[in-house]
Symmetry: C2
Amino acid sequence: MAGKKQFDIATALDAAMIQFWRAGYADTSLDDLSRATGLNRSSIYSSFGDKDALFMRCLERYTTRYGDKYDAALSCAADRPLAAARAFFDITLERIADPAVPDGCLVAQTVMASPVLSASVAARTREAIGFQHTRLRAALKAARLHDETAESFAAHLAGVNQSLAVMSRAGASTEQLRAIVDVTLGALAQTLGASD
Amino acid sequence: MAGKKQFDIATALDAAMIQFWRAGYADTSLDDLSRATGLNRSSIYSSFGDKDALFMRCLERYTTRYGDKYDAALSCAADRPLAAARAFFDITLERIADPAVPDGCLVAQTVMASPVLSASVAARTREAIGFQHTRLRAALKAARLHDETAESFAAHLAGVNQSLAVMSRAGASTEQLRAIVDVTLGALAQTLGASD
DNA sequence: CCCATCTTGAACTAAGCGGTTCAAGATGAG
DNA sequence: CTCATCTTGAACCGCTTAGTTCAAGATGGG
């Protein structure tokens, strides 16, 4: 395993991301990362730099991957806003149900620990949540909601989406998570005027 | 400062609770606790036992203190359910606005880190969230909602309440937090039939 | 076949962790 | 005043941490 070849960076990043996602930044040691990625400590150091830099890469990977999915789910908002919102939450619910990844949410986990993380990581996480809000607001405006209503619902949808991360870690059942979402979708349907 | 006197246990517990609340279990060292409480390491050890036992005491203190407030807020649910729900969220919003305590929520913070905490702490935290659900369901049933509706709304209200902890740590403004809650209160008002 | 290239495991440093012990000192009761 | 009681600071233990270095070994190109 030497010469000219190299390990797969993407696979290693995925493994590190899942480790951070499950255990959080503070409770993930370099040993944990080495074990999770199958890479040597020195390989991690030479490929990604220090722990902070690697975490940042993982955070970026996470927000991009799921951000794209959220965008796709909301793409039909102008025509069918309620279906778009439902698809939006389904992304999160499917992620929680996926046994290949931890429950919870890397962003939620990180933002909860932000007081003890580096300023750059904390800022990047805030940015990620802010972008979620922007994404939702744009979708709701495309659905021709009034500006104030779109603003309120964007905050509400972003919040409820984060609540799924907390409640899944608290051991809530799929039915309970679905109930949380359904009340919100009902409120949106009411506001949209029972169309869709 | 010796002889027969002693420091104030309640004050020390409050200080330790706030430290855990702000920084989380993993990122709070005995040195941090010593600094926060003003107590010596050996005093902490002799008075509360190890870090895990102290954390449990703080968790108990937190859930009792705010649990009582939530109960009081919901006590008028049978007569004025919407006002009760509003008062319920106001407890959380006031806590977040209170500069004397950190934002976020000790329970939410702990449950997010549960995969790396001791089993007893994780179980106790799950229990606390479960009790919140029970408290809300009882209040909604007292308001004569159908069983299924009460169940759904209890899950939703508990989830939205936790979302405030996440979003406050993400730097959301008071207005944004209020918007999250208002959508939920609107949905409840609708379900209650615009009474109250 | 041989050598340049890359990976790897292991060792090391300096620091911090939770946990524990204990002698010294301060205090108040008798 | 005296003595039992309690607090305190400091030190220590064994362990883990992040970070770094380097010689040994595996590999593939020429």
